[in-house]
Symmetry: C2
């Protein structure tokens, strides 16, 4: 297909497609004439994956690049691929570092919680760091440490993780594995926000508007 059709089917503009080719995220099409190239369904699938990562997954180009490199490597066992995606999704929450004082005051609570849970999350890993930063931001605003408030959710988080892993490693194809991990993550976020919206409508006593 021509680039115009690829653009229409993928919902990605022609300049953006060309940008992805220049950035080597998308293979170039097969040249057919001067200024023309032929694309196929592998390009379409790739574009849909990129759009998924940058759109719903809100990943930066750097994270997209890492995920695509992992997808392209045929060597990675599924759990390793899941880890790359999981880390890429986590990276997007990084803000500027919290002030030192707030950081130091919340770190012990996070470590105590992780130790109690027995979670194998490396001391120097980005997961621990992200959680400390989030709680430090709250502390800097004057809210006391909430590591204790989070502990009750650990069980739910573990259950979700186990199912996520089962679901992902059940799909043989790397692209589908990545898509399922990202989209289940996003869909669950949306479910939480829907549920909150629903509870707010109840609290505010608004007339029901069920989708019919």
């Amino acid at each position: 297909m021509k680039i115009s059709r690829l653009s229409r089917l993928s919902g990605v503009s022609i300049p953006t497609i060309k940008f992805y080719v220049r950035e080597q995220l998308l293979p170039a099409g097969i040249p057919t004439a001067r200024n023309q190239a032929e694309y196929d369904t592998t390009h379409l699938t790739r574009l849909r994956l990129i759009r998924l990562l940058t759109g719903a997954g809100m990943m930066s180009l750097a994270s997209v690049r890492e995920v695509l490199a992992a997808v392209d490597s045929d060597q990675l066992p599924p759990p390793e691929l899941v880890r790359v995606v999981n880390r890429a999704l986590l990276a997007e929450h990084a803000g500027p570092p919290a002030d030192r004082e707030a950081y130091d005051s919340v770190a012990p609570g996070v470590d105590r919680m992780l130790q109690r849970l027995g979670w194998r999350v490396g001391r120097s890993g980005p997961e621990r760091e992200s959680l400390i930063q989030a709680l430090a931001a709250l502390r800097a605003l004057g809210v006391p440490c909430v590591a204790e408030e989070l502990a009750p959710y650990a069980e739910v988080a573990e259950k979700l993780a186990t199912q996520s892993l089962d679901r992902a490693t059940g799909s043989g194809d790397a692209v589908l594995l990545v898509a399922r991990i990202v989209l289940f993550d996003v869909a669950f976020d949306i479910m939480r926000r829907m549920a909150l919206q629903h509870r707010l409508a109840e609290v505010l006593g608004e007339p029901a508007d069920p989708p019919q």
Copy 2:
């Protein structure tokens, strides 16, 4: 305090502080001399809130503006403020629209699920739209509709929503309410990714590295 100290305490660079002032997200300091102004702790709290929304909350400037306008309005009852934040967090997941065919094929499943749950999520609301888009992206990649797979998580989502609401409306201050909603949301995301990391380490049989 001078802008240099404000920058140091907030972790926000001086050019970015000036940008926020120009964009009217942050009130200007009190002019003290040519090219000098005095800032106080209200500026610091405001900057920390903005940093939280753009950093951990990953909000666009447009969403930040909406949330700050809601914070500044003294008229809004807490549940309305929660709704503004909830919608702003949801907005960030929006990607380009899915192709029509995929959209149409997943929409009925989402509507059936919402109807079964009895969730008051408006038919034209952004929550329903976001979920359909996410599932349509999966469908476009060849994965069948997963609305059924999501249904079991509705209970968890409702529980989280109720607690989120209780926690938020318990804090009298609008800034703290917003901070708690955003950061609890982010912290739970991180918990899920930590749990997945932990399960991966188990599956891959890696040596335990408990934070000590």
